[in-house]
Symmetry: C2
């Protein structure tokens, strides 16, 4: 059997089952985006995320500076979803010998800037020659106070589902980059390209959620809303109803979707790379939490659904009341 | 300018100079194999090391199990050189879609086994699709008591230079793998192949050195003796005399070198991947330390040279008294 046939998530399950039971120091281990390790006063958060040329990016579609910023931002986003803060970054760089030094300069300028924005430091790494394209693999260490750790596993039946910002913008930006017929106003173009090329991790939003004590589960939207709510449902042992009309989509994504005949809701559900925070909170506190995060950070928060018993599965409820079984269908690195 | 023209070490220097000054929490930052980060009672050690198909390994010359063991071992070796112990491993895997699941199983079996040998746990990672070959990028966290941290920078003029085990075996093993005319006895072949394919990190030796309080500087021999002693000299601001006759070479490496008309001393100096520990100690305690490490761990330790003032550079002294300027000439990932 090939890894393509098994798929990423079943392969990870298979690996996880082959490992010995985690030791006492491991609070969250394999299967999550971030490992949580018991520290003396704060837990250590450790995550890695890779950018492979030809898979995650095309060299002619992103500048080295943007690539550096994005590579850091997506790792910070993972830390944000745990309620923590980033601290130290290791950079593993695989480069063709023919790479221009200016490429490396630009990449590091982007990484430095994004790190300094979120209070992280580049402290080391590794360099290797690539027989193929450029690969940027980042390892980010962070920390979180034990009582402020957000996990995927705490969603309870009746909780509301919340999300920061808007979804589908990154897919709209990618569409602009890949399809020459895709058009839009300058403002819309600039917005979705920025969202795709230099996403903003929702660090302060994550800190606000963890400080509130009201978040029961959280994850960042990297693979797509459908896939990422699926991770929460699976880990928490629950199902979900998502309200299609409540899913926040920007005017820019709507306009670009209209121009190319795409459905912006599909982008929101399956596009991925939005790096918004998706979280749950008790029904009677969800509005308070949404308002509070918005007030603290300026980022809008939408209530987009409800946690239901596991046997009800994952369902998208449309405005007309019709229900659609929600396939995970997010980004699987070996299948798509 | 291309990265090939600048070379790995000058590129790292260039990057290091571009970074803001390290914060208070950073004890050892960029430029070293391992970042050392201040913890509350123990320092955190963070390192990464990558294995790229076609650069670091050939798929037909190493089994997935051996690759898994080696990838972990070379990271543990970096932690050993700091006097610390490994704790947690993140695995970043880039795989072609056509990869057999059995390959991943074998790789993880090797990583699991090597981790359990050294008290480390696999706690997470990341998986991505590769448009080229297999890439295994490991991120290892360890810890060390503050008073037991070994660094590259403490070598003082007059110190002796010591090394564990034998050097050049890994190059002999690589020669066997790549050159069909290379022969040797079964025992010799098995020994050098094991040294190349599944090296043993010198963890307990590193712990013994750090416990002794006598080691003034340390590094692991990954790029080759000449290159790695060069790192100690540069960071410590000193030069070195290495005594050619004292450099430990195994019977196996000698025999295989004779069979292919190679110089085993060249393998020891420039071959790399031996993962022995290279360290320095005050002249009047060097013999004690060598004996003690050997007694504690069973691993032989050789005294192979002397630290001299920086202006004397790095010199290889032969048995006949002749002196040869020692070029770093170790493995540079962009030049060779």
């Amino acid at each position: 059997m090939k890894v393509r046939d098994l798929g990423e998530f079943r392969l990870i399950d298979r690996i996880a089952r082959s490992l010995p039971p985690p030791g006492e120091g491991v609070i969250v281990g394999i299967g999550d985006d971030v490992a949580v390790l018991r520290g003396s006063d704060r837990h250590v958060l450790a995550t890695c995320d890779i950018q492979v040329e030809g898979v995650h990016f095309l060299r002619e579609k992103i500048t080295p500076y943007q690539l550096g910023r994005k590579a850091v931002a997506i790792n910070v986003s993972d830390i944000a979803a745990m309620g923590g803060v980033p601290r130290y970054l290791l950079v593993s760089l695989v480069l063709p010998k023919e790479t221009e030094v200016e490429f490396v300069d630009g990449l590091y300028e982007g990484m430095r800037e994004e790190c300094s924005r979120w209070g992280a430091e580049i402290v080391g790494g590794n360099m290797a020659h690539s027989p193929g394209g450029v690969i940027v693999d980042l390892f980010l260490l962070g920390e979180v106070e034990p009582d402020r750790l957000l996990r995927r596993s705490g969603a309870r039946v009746g909780d509301r589902v919340l999300v920061t910002g808007t979804l589908g913008d990154s897919a709209a930006g990618l569409t602009l980059l890949l399809r020459s017929e895709a058009t839009g106003s300058d403002v819309h173009r600039a917005f979705v390209l920025r969202r795709h090329l230099t996403p903003t991790p929702r660090l302060w939003e994550g800190r606000a959620i963890s400080r509130s004590g009201l978040g029961t589960a959280a994850i960042d939207v990297s693979d797509g809303l459908a896939s990422d709510i699926g991770h929460i449902c699976e880990t928490s042992g629950v199902g979900v109803h998502l309200w299609a009309d409540a899913i926040p989509v920007s005017d820019a994504a709507r306009a670009i979707a209209a121009a190319v005949g795409a459905d912006p809701l599909e982008w929101a559900l399956f596009g991925g790379e939005d790096y918004e925070l998706l979280f749950t909170a008790p029904a009677d506190r969800a509005e308070d939490l949404a308002h509070w995060v918005q007030e603290e950070t300026g980022t809008p928060v939408s209530i987009i659904g409800e946690v239901v018993p596991a046997d009800q599965g994952m369902t998208l409820i449309r405005a007309d009341g019709s229900a659609l079984p929600l396939q995970k269908g997010g980004w699987d690195h070996f299948r798509k």
